[in-house]
Amino acid sequence: MSMQKVWLTVLGASLLACGGSAEPAKATPEAPATPNAAVEAALDRSGLPQPGPARVWAPPAPTAWQLPGGVRVLHQTHGSVPLVSLYLVIPRGTETDPPKQAGLTHLMGDLLDEGAGKLDALQLNERLMQLATDISISTSVDVVSVGMNMIAENFGPSVDLLADIVRRPRFDEHEFQRRKAQLVAQALANEADPHTGRRVALSSALYGEGYGGLPTTGTRDSLATISLADIKAHYSRLMVGEGATFVVVGGLARDEAGKHLERAFGDWGGKAKAEARPIAADTGAGKLYFVDYPGAAQSVIGVARRAPGSDAEDLFPATVFNRSFGESFTSRVNLNLREDKGYTYGAMSMFQRFRKTGMFGVFSDVRTDVTRASLDEVLRELGDVCGARPLTAEERDNSVNGLLLGYPGSFESIGLVALRFAQLPIYDRPLDWYERWPERVSAVTLEQVNALGSRYCDRSSFTLVVAGDKAKVAPTLEGIGYGWVELDARGRPR
């Protein structure tokens, strides 16, 4: 700190970068690359200003320990407000739903806070609201997680409620009937959204009924088959201490967090007995899936194919590739479809990474009359990037720099930090994952990026999906070279 002050005095004017940092600035006094230049000289509009010296920052790893029963805790004191974000992560999810009972895990998770311990659903909800503690139970392919967001001083009583919710749910018959009807109603409502149509068709095409497939929240048909006995049996298979991890981030000291968790979960353990569905064969390659939404104002489209899961060897090259190709605003895909052609409000590419498999695709909502043209443009961009126009060194550098420089900002809020730490146990990642992330991104070479891109060259390996107005769009899709499959919004063949 004192070093820096001296250095500032020597230079005599402002530096925007150094406030509060204990890190000595890395630039030398000879380097003109500071906002000083802008202040001292006449206002120069010939080019963008040069940055000041960077303040080095890396996210510290969480502190980790185990409760007596074996459940792990990851903790970090963080932020400047007296809030705490807590997650309980159980690394088993909708992958364990039986093929005919999609939504079983989701409905089970949904029922956890509908009455637990001595409190019925209404009393439990009132108690949480008195504490101003929000609870969210989420289920996805690989995980059931229970999140709580609370005022720090209410951590103890909130954790006691969490223990009831996770360890002593009541599963009352009338709550089961009520919530099941609610999820059926939600499934029905979702069908009206063409984005649901696209998601259902893609999932069906790429993952079938295997791992990663089936709608995680169930369908009207699958929910109907689930009984309360099914829920209770699934609960005992899934919701045990094996592999579970707590994440605690915010305005709370380690000892305080540990004391309460140990009181409520110290003896929690048990072996999981649920099995994941095996990965199914990809049946969608080379096909076009259509979901009809008569009169739709836009077509909701996707061009996607299988990709490796979160254990992919090429995770970091893929991150860099994706940012340049379709993730950022000035990526190729968005500049082409939105800013050049005006077909859409936005277009983007993404990797979906489950633990064991995943998907790479390009997605957009486009004007109905340019549905075919948009699909052609996406396929052209996919072809070009591994042929005529591979990513350039400048694109690689921009992506790497953007990822690195934007990194600190993604640790700003307690909720964001907790959410990041909650990924570690889901994907078996080490505690220093986020600390080491910048060096791994920096190490990605242009050669690796383009090698990654070349894995996605074969257009016959992709599935096309369109959720839109069939009467207007279908005639334009003739000759596109993909086999026609039509589904309804529930994923049933038509």
Binding site: A13, S14, L15, L16, A17, G19, G20, P35, A38, V39, R45, L48, P49, Q50, G52, P53, A54, T77, H78, G79, S80, V81, L83, L122, N125, E126, Q130, A132, I151, R178, A181, V184, L188, A189, A192, G251, A253, Y293, P294, G295, A296, A297, Q298, F329, T330, L335, E339, G342, D365, V366, R367, D397, N398, N401, G402, L405, G406, F411, E412, I414
Partner: protein, 463 residues
């Protein structure tokens, strides 16, 4: 970790646990209001430029123009005639803009050593957008905005409802009659001359504020702000649109959409943001629909299962606000049954003041939400800008929170009785379209809007 002592302090003195947002506010000679709030926790800084113009300032026949203009601000300026997103991506910055009925904002979050970049760029487009403007840019962004309207409103279930509510609540000629997205026809009518006149009237320092929050030293950044923005001609503060508070009416519309379940919207006029009654009505929303035992959720959703969901919320605005109670039918329930039961539950809910526990829960939730607002630099910058816009003072967090903390059950009850009159309400039904009905939303007229849960009154981001 600087947090630890803070937690200990709290344990000793509960009164210390109020959210704080320190800010220094001053004006440049040309009238640009500057708001500075330092925080050195992370090497990150956010800046927000707020222009005191939104869709309520638009002239007749130009609905959607303020938002279209916001898009054009990203298409290049005299000294940087390229996409404005471009310089931010290699530095990991976030950048966007939003347009509401009352204001337009532009914000960036950048590594703190790059603070000069957004200052340079924001000042360049404030000073010299027009030399870089072309017909081609206007035409392209017009298409992008029309696609935004299709995506957010026309192609989303119930996506047209806020637009209908605007037409029902506000008479022709009222500045709030249309929502920020505008109509296809008006967007098509916008010309380069419109763009020029709008820029010269509204995009001037005297009609704007600049907020900086995060890792910088005020003493060092002030000369920089002066250098970049001080030379821009002042212009003048644009007068707010004038409109009488519309008379309450009783109106009932039925519209169809491609949705499986009918939904009813009830709406009323309520006081402007920060006016007496505004906070009380927000608290009433919690009493009505937050939690399973809330006064509308319990009878309609939990007990009788007539509704799939019910939500009460207020859209708080500069000139006057409106309040909405929204209920979606459970499968198999008719819109008539839903309406009867909803009115019955609402009448009962408004009969008695909230009990102490009900109000306490609502206040606690707001207090926590205030902490949430000041956690991240960008949210802090827009909070400061909003206080400046509505009260003239960015240093207003304590007063804002006090409105909620000091509310009494009687005042909450009184506000409900006064403004949510059951004999003077606007009712909109969105009904499932008959299966062989006509093509849907293409035929619908004009505008778009604010969805519950979004920031009060804000809509229309550029991305």
């Amino acid at each position: 970790m600087k947090l630890l002592p803070f937690v200990l302090t709290m344990a000793l003195d509960a009164a210390a646990s109020t959210p704080k947002l320190p800010v220094e506010q001053y004006q440049l000679e040309n009238g640009l209001t500057v708001l500075l709030s330092e925080d050195h926790a992370l090497p990150v800084v956010s800046i927000e430029v707020l222009y005191l113009v939104g869709s309520s300032y638009e002239r007749a026949g130009r609905s959607g123009f303020a938002h279209l203009f916001e898009h054009l601000m990203f298409q290049g300026s005299e000294h940087y005639d390229q996409e404005y997103f471009k310089p931010y991506e290699p530095i990991g910055g976030q950048v966007n803009g939003t347009t509401s009925r009352d204001r337009t904002n532009f914000f960036e979050v950048v590594p703190s050593n790059y603070l000069a970049t957004p200052l340079w760029m924001e000042s360049d487009r404030m000073q010299s957008l027009l030399p870089a403007l072309t017909q081609e840019k206007l035409d392209n962004q017009r298409e992008v905005v029309k696609n935004e309207r299709r995506q957010r409103n026309e192609n989303a279930p119930y996506g047209m409802a806020q637009e209908y509510l605007g037409e029902m609540l506000y008479p022709p000629g009222h500045p709030y009659r249309h929502t920020p997205i505008g109509s296809h026809a008006d967007l098509s009518a916008a010309t380069l001359d419109d763009v020029k006149a709008f820029f010269q009237t509204y995009y001037v320092p005297a009609n704007a504020s600049l907020a900086l929050v995060g890792d910088f030293q005020s003493a060092e950044v002030k000369p920089l702000i002066q250098r970049y923005f001080g030379g821009i001609p002042a212009g003048s503060r644009a007068p707010r649109p004038v409109a009488a508070v519309p008379t309450p009416g009783a109106l009932h519309w039925q519209k169809t959409d491609d949705v499986p379940l009918p939904r009813i919207y009830l709406a009323w006029h309520t006081p402007a943001l920060f006016a007496a009654g505004d906070a009380e009505l927000d608290l009433l929303s919690s009493v009505l629909s937050s939690g399973k035992t809330s006064r509308l959720f319990y009878p309609l959703v939990y007990d009788k299962k007539i509704a799939k969901e019910v939500e009460a919320y207020q859209v708080s605005q500069q000139l006057s606000s409106y309040y909405v109670v929204e209920a979606t039918a459970a499968p198999g329930q008719s819109v008539d049954t839903l309406y009867t039961e909803l009115m019955k539950a609402l009448a009962k809910a408004l009969e008695t003041p909230p009990e102490a526990g009900e109000l306490e829960r609502a206040v606690s939730a707001y207090k926590k939400q205030f902490y949430g607002r000041i956690e991240a630099v960008q949210s802090r910058a827009s909070t400061l800008g909003s206080y400046f816009q509505h009260t003239g003072r960015a240093d207003y967090l304590a007063q804002d929170l006090a409105r909620y903390v000091e509310a009494t059950p009687e005042r909450v009850h009184g506000a409900g009785r006064q403004y949510l009159r059951l004999d003077q309400l606007v009712r909109l039904d969105i009904l499932p379209e008959p299966k062989d009905g006509p093509g849907k939303k293409d035929a619908a007229p004009s505008q778009a809007g604010v969805r519950p849960g979004a920031a009060k009154g804000a809509t229309g981001g550029t991305r």
